[in-house]
C-alpha cells in the first residue's frame, strides 16, 4: 500500500525514489528494505497494478520507472479504505474511555 500510495503521489518513479519517499514522509521511521521492495514491485507487476519502463533518471542514469495503472489505483483505494477501517477500529479500542 505504501508503494502504491507513493506512486500515486509521485507519478512514475524508480525503486530508489519510492524507498526515499517513504522514508522521508515517515520521518525515517519506516525503513524500506531493498530485499522486500524489489520482490514486492515484481508482485505488483504480475498483478498488473503497476507497469515498468526504462528511462533516464534525473542524474542521467538508466533507471526502471514504475507507473500506477488504473487497476493499481483501484487496488490502492481498496487498501486505503481497509486500512482506514482497521485504524479506526484500533483507535476506538485504545481510546481512553
Amino acid at each position: 500500500m505504501l508503494i502504491l500510495r507513493s506512486l500515486a503521489r509521485l507519478g512514475p518513479m524508480h525503486g530508489y525514489g519510492i524507498a526515499q519517499h517513504i522514508q522521508e514522509l515517515s520521518q525515517e521511521v519506516l525503513q524500506v528494505e531493498e530485499g522486500s521492495l524489489y520482490p514486492a514491485l515484481q508482485r505488483m507487476l504480475i498483478k498488473g497494478w503497476v507497469t515498468a519502463d526504462w528511462a533516464q533518471s534525473e542524474n542521467n542514469r538508466r533507471a526502471r520507472y514504475y507507473r500506477l495503472t488504473p487497476a493499481g489505483k483501484k487496488q490502492l483505494g481498496l487498501e486505503m479504505s481497509e486500512f482506514d477501517r482497521v485504524m479506526r477500529a484500533i483507535a476506538n479500542v485504545i481510546q481512553p474511555a
Binding site: H14, G15, A19, Q20, G35, Y38, Q42, I46, R61
Partner: protein, 879 residues
C-alpha cells in the same frame, strides 16, 4: 488468478533471459543513488560505495526472490535438472543405453498388448450410443432360433428394438466373375437399431421382414462397393447377382462399419427373409434350429437388471411352451464377440497376457532400480559435495527424480515407436484363414494415454529408491570414502531386487518354454486324420444356383476329374472337414429312447462324407467298412460313428451293426463302422462324439473336395481348382490349399499364446542379461582396489571370481529357483490355452535351467574378464 495475470506470467517466460540483468541493473542503480546520497552527506567516494552495497544486502538473493515472484521457479529448476540429467546421461552412455532399452522393451510390450486388448475388448463397435446395445445370450451360447427371436421381440417390454442377424456365405458376381463373399443376413430393423447412416442410398426397413424370399435387396460394405464395384456413385438401385439371383442394391454402409462382430468383416447385408434363397433351406419357421444371433437396443432408462428380469419371464414361457427350449436362460452381454460366449474367454486371455506384460515391465523396473541403486553409490561423493555446499535434500531428490523421469520418457518414447512398428505389422498380418478376420489394432488415444501413464509411473517407481538413498546418505561419510566399505556388507535394496527380477524372468522363460513345447507336441497330437499330403478345395454349388439333382451330378463329375489328376492316390468329398470353421451338431438318441427331451440326447458333430473319405482323410476305421457307392438314398440308412459316440449311444465299444436315432422321433441309422476318435472343433477338446453319414443318402451343397497324394499340396490344390473350374467357370472356389491351412483357426489361439509367450520370454531373457550384467559390472568397479590388493598378495583368478560373484551368483540362483517354481505353477493355467502344455516335463525344466544358466554366464562374462584383467599397480593408484 485472472486471465491478465496469467498472460503476464506467461509473457515473463519470453523475457526470462533478460530478467536477471534487468534486476541487477536496477539494483546497481539503486546502490549508485544510495552512494550519491552518502557522498552528499560528506562520506568519501569509496566508503560511500561500500556503505551503499552493505545497505543493499545480497543482490543475488534479491534477484532470486524477485524472480520467484513470477512463480516459474519450479520450471526453471526442472529445466536446470533436465540439463544436468542429460549431462549425467551423456557421461555414462552404457547405463543410459541399458536403462532406455530395457524400458523401451517393457513399455513397448505393454503398449502392444494394451492396444490388442483395447481393440478386442475395450473399443466399442462403431455404432451410435453403443453402450445401450446388448447381445441376448441364450443359455450361455449365442444362437437363437428364428421363431424364438420373433417371440422375444414381440413379448419383451424393455428393448426399443430387437434384431437378429446371421453370418452367411454368398456368391457375388462382379465383372470378374463369381466370388464367394462373407456377409450377414439381418432383420429389417438392424441398421435402424444400430443408429448408423448409409454412406449412399438407404438401408433396410421393417418392410423387408414380411415374406420369405420377397425382399431381394442388398446393402454393400464400403470396401465391397469400392473394390468390387469401383465406387460407382450410381450403385444404389442397380441390380447385382447373389447366388445367381438378381438383388437390388439399396445402399452402402459407412466406411468404418463392418457389421456387429469385431472379428468378422462383412461385405454385404441381405434381409433375413431371403435366408431360404441364400442358404438353400429354410429355418425361419423351425423352432429347434438355433441359427440366428439376437441383439437389441434397450429403451432409455431401462437397466440391465430390469431387462434381464423381463427376459427371464419370457424365457420361462418359451421353455414351457416348446420342449426344444427346455432350460432356456436369456442374459445380456456386450455385442461384438458372439455375445458373452466369445468375449469372456477373449477377455480372460487378454487379461492374462496383460499380466505377463506387466510382469515384464516390473522386471524392467527392478532392473533399472537395481542398476541405478548401484550407480547411486558411485555418485555418492558427487551428491555429498552438492549437499555440503548447501543443496537441500528436497532439491537433490527432485534432481534424481528428474533424471529417472527423463530416462522413462526416453524409454517410453522409444517403446512407443517400437510398439507402433509392431502394431502396424500386426494390423497388416492376415491370418491364413478361410474367413474375413480383421485384426485392426491401430492405436487410439487410450493407448497413448496408457503408454505415457506407464512411462511416468515407471520413472517414479525406479527413481524413488535411489532418491531415498540419497536422502538418507550422510555426506561426511561419502567425502571420507568410508561409506563404500559399509555398503558392501549391508543388505541393500538391490540385493532383493535382483532375485525378484531374476525370478520374474525365470518364470516367463519357463512359461514360454512350456508353451513352445506344447505347440510342438500338439502338432503330433492324434487329430483323427492325417493332414499331411491332403490338398483341399471348397465350393458351394448352392451359391451357384444348383438344385440337389444337378448338384449331385456335379459333385460326382468333380470327384472324377480330381481323382484322375496325376499322383492322386485317393479322393473324396464331404460337407466339411474336422477342425475347420464350418462345424454342425445334431442330436442323437439311443435306439430305445422314447422320451426325446434334450437331456436324453447326445450332441454330436456330424459330417456328410462320400465313399473313400476315411481313406483320403487318413482316418482309421477300427471295425466295419467304409461307405461305398451302394449307400444311396434308396438303401437302408447307415452311419459311421467315432469310438466315443459308439460307447455312449450303444453302451459297447464294438457297436457295428447296432442302431441309433437321429433327432427327436427321427430315422434309425445302422452303424456300419467305428472310426477312431479325433479332434472336431478345438484341439484342446476332450474326446467328443462325432457321426458320419453317407453324402449319397443326404445332400450338402457346401463341399470340401479332398485329394491325397505325395505331391506338394499347393500344387495339387491349384490343379484341382483348375479341374473344377473347367466344369463350371461360374463356380466360386475357395480355400484352395493344404488341409493344414484349413485348420488355421483351430491353431490360432495356440499360435497367439505361443507368439506372445515367446516374445515375453525373449524380453525376459534380455532384461535378465542387462540386470545381471549391470550388477556384476558394478560390483567389479566398486571393488577394483580390493581386487588389486588381493591379486598383489597372490590371489588366484578363481579366488578373485569367487570373491566377486559368490554373492551375485547366490542371488541369481535364489531368484532362478523361485522363478522356476512360479513358472511351473503358472504353466497349469497355460494348459487351458496351449494344448499339451505340461509343466512336469523334464525337457522343459532342463531347458529352463540351462537357459537361465546360459543367461547368467553370458551376462557375467564381461565383468568377470574385467575383474581378471585388473592390474594391481593401476588398481592401487585408482582414485
Amino acid at each position: 488468478m485472472g486471465p491478465g495475470e496469467l498472460w503476464r506470467r506467461i509473457g515473463f517466460l519470453r523475457r526470462r533471459p533478460e530478467f536477471n540483468s534487468e534486476i541487477e541493473e536496477e539494483l546497481r542503480f539503486h546502490a549508485a543513488m544510495q552512494a550519491d546520497a552518502y557522498r552528499q552527506d560528506g562520506v568519501g567516494a569509496a566508503e560511500a560505495q561500500h556503505a551503499a552495497m552493505r545497505r543493499l544486502g545480497n543482490p543475488t538473493e534479491i534477484t532470486e526472490r524477485s524472480r520467484d515472484m513470477w512463480g516459474w521457479s519450479w520450471l526453471e529448476a526442472f529445466a536446470q535438472d533436465t540439463r544436468y540429467a542429460f549431462r549425467v546421461m551423456r557421461k555414462s552412455p552404457a547405463f543410459t543405453f541399458i536403462a532406455v532399452v530395457s524400458l523401451a522393451l517393457g513399455i513397448g510390450a505393454n503398449t502392444v498388448v494394451f492396444s490388442v486388448l483395447n481393440a478386442m475388448v475395450l473399443k466399442a463397435l462403431p455404432i451410435a450410443d453403443a453402450s445401450r446395445v446388448f447381445f441376448v445370450n441364450n443359455s450361455g451360447g449365442p444362437a437363437q432360433s428364428f421363431p424364438n427371436y420373433r417371440d422375444i421381440r414381440d413379448r419383451n417390454s424393455v428393448f426399443d428394438s430387437l434384431f437378429a442377424y446371421r453370418i452367411a456365405m454368398m456368391s457375388l458376381d462382379d465383372d470378374r466373375g463369381a466370388h464367394r463373399v462373407w456377409g450377414y443376413l439381418v432383420t429389417g430393423n438392424y441398421f435402424e437399431s444400430l443408429g448408423i447412416h448409409p454412406a449412399l442410398g438407404r438401408f433396410f426397413t421393417p418392410a423387408e421382414d414380411l415374406h420369405p424370399n420377397a425382399s431381394p435387396y442388398a446393402v454393400l460394405s464400403y470396401a465391397c462397393w469400392q473394390n468390387r464395384f469401383g465406387g460407382d456413385p450410381q450403385i444404389a438401385g442397380k441390380d447385382i447377382r447373389i447366388n445367381g439371383h438378381p438383388y437390388t442394391v439399396l445402399g452402402v454402409a459407412p466406411r468404418e462399419f463392418h457389421g456387429t462382430e469385431i472379428f468378422y468383416w462383412s461385405e454385404i447385408w441381405v434381409p433375413m427373409m431371403m435366408q431360404p434363397q441364400i442358404e438353400g433351406h429354410s429355418w425361419l419357421e423351425v423352432r429347434n434350429t438355433f441359427d440366428a444371433w439376437v441383439a437389441g437396443r434397450l429403451k432409455p432408462g431401462v437397466t440391465v437388471q430390469q431387462a434381464e428380469a423381463n427376459l427371464h419371464v419370457i424365457a420361462a414361457q418359451l421353455a414351457r411352451d416348446y420342449t426344444s427350449n427346455e432350460g432356456m436362460r436369456l442374459t445380456l452381454g456386450v455385442p461384438g464377440m458372439m455375445g458373452s460366449a466369445g468375449r469372456e474367454p477373449t477377455r480372460a486371455f487378454a487379461g492374462a497376457v496383460m499380466l505377463l506384460a506387466a510382469l515384464v515391465l516390473l522386471a524392467a523396473c527392478a532392473n533399472l532400480a537395481s542398476l541405478s541403486a548401484a550407480r547411486m553409490a558411485d555418485r555418492g561423493r558427487d551428491l555429498a559435495i552438492r549437499v555440503s555446499i548447501g543443496a537441500g535434500g528436497g532439491r537433490i531428490v527432485r534432481q534424481l527424480l528428474t533424471e529417472s523421469l527423463w530416462i522413462a520418457i526416453l524409454g517410453g518414447a522409444s517403446g512407443c515407436a517400437l510398439a507402433m512398428i509392431l502394431l502396424r505389422l500386426l494390423s497388416q498380418w492376415r491370418a491364413q484363414l478361410d474367413f474375413p478376420v480383421p485384426f485392426d489394432v491401430s492405436p487410439d488415444w487410450r493407448v497413448f494415454l496408457f503408454a505415457s501413464a506407464v512411462a511416468i509411473l515407471t520413472g517414479m517407481l525406479f527413481g524413488i529408491g535411489p532418491a531415498r538413498h540419497a536422502w538418507k546418505a550422510d555426506p561426511a561419510l561419502h567425502l571420507k570414502g568410508t561409506a563404500i566399505a559399509r555398503s558392501t556388507r549391508r543388505w541393500a535394496a538391490r540385493d532383493v531386487l535382483l532375485p525378484v527380477q531374476i525370478a520374474l524372468c525365470c518364470m516367463l522363460v519357463t512359461a514360454s518354454l512350456v508353451a513352445v513345447r506344447g505347440l510342438m507336441r500338439s502338432f503330433q497330437t492324434p487329430l483323427g486324420f492325417r493332414p499331411d499330403g491332403a490338398a483341399v478345395i471348397g465350393y458351394d454349388v448352392g451359391l451357384a444356383g444348383y438344385n440337389e439333382d444337378r448338384g449331385r451330378v456335379f459333385e460326382q463329375r468333380a470327384l472324377e476329374a480330381v481323382a484322375h489328376l496325376p499322383g492322386v492316390e485317393s479322393a473324396a468329398y464331404s460337407s466339411s472337414v474336422p477342425l475347420s470353421i464350418d462345424q454342425s451338431n445334431t442330436t442323437i438318441y439311443s435306439e430305445g429312447t422314447t422320451d426325446f427331451r434334450p437331456r436324453n440326447a447326445q450332441s454330436a458333430t456330424y459330417f456328410y462324407v462320400a465313399p473313400s473319405y476315411f481313406k483320403t482323410a487318413g482316418t482309421r476305421l477300427v471295425g466295419g467298412r467304409e461307405f461305398n457307392a451302394g449307400d444311396k438314398s434308396d438303401a437302408p440308412p447307415v452311419a459311421i460313428v467315432n469310438q466315443t459316440l459308439a460307447r455312449s449311444v450303444t453302451g459297447v465299444a464294438d457297436a457295428v451293426g447296432r442302431r441309433f436315432r437321429m433327432g427327436p422321433g427321427g430315422r434309425l441309422y445302422q452303424i456300419v463302422a467305428i472310426a477312431e476318435d479325433g479332434k472336431y472343433q478345438t484341439l484342446t477338446e476332450v474326446p467328443k462324439p462325432a457321426v458320419f453319414f453317407p453324402i449319397l443318402q443326404s445332400y450338402s451343397p457346401t463341399i470340401v473336395l479332398m485329394a491325397r497324394s505325395r505331391r506338394p499340396e499347393f500344387e495339387l490344390a491349384a490343379e484341382m481348382r483348375e479341374a473344377v473350374g473347367r466344369l463350371d467357370p461360374h463356380l466360386a472356389v475357395y480355400g484352395v490349399g493344404s488341409l493344414h491351412q484349413m485348420l488355421g483357426l483351430a491353431y490360432l489361439p495356440m499360435h497367439a499364446a505361443v507368439v506372445a509367450l515367446g516374445a515375453f520370454g525373449v524380453l525376459a531373457v534380455m532384461l535378465a542379461i542387462t540386470g545381471i550384467y549391470g550388477l556384476a559390472a558394478y560390483t567389479v568397479s566398486r571393488r577394483v582396489r580390493e581386487i588389486g590388493i588381493r591379486v598383489a598378495i597372490g590371489a588366484r583368478p578363481a579366488q578373485v571370481l569367487r570373491l566377486i560373484f559368490a554373492r551375485t551368483g547366490a542371488l541369481v540362483a535364489a531368484g532362478a529357483l523361485i522363478g522356476l517354481a512360479l513358472g511351473i505353477a503358472g504353466a497349469d493355467i497355460l494348459a487351458s490355452v496351449v494344448y499339451q502344455a505340461s509343466s512336469r516335463d523334464p525337457v522343459v525344466i532342463f531347458a529352463a535351467v540351462v537357459s537361465i544358466a546360459a543367461v547368467g554366464l553370458a551376462a557375467a562374462y564381461g565383468p568377470a574378464r574385467r575383474a581378471l584383467r585388473i592390474d594391481p599397480m593401476q588398481a592401487l593408484r585408482h582414485d
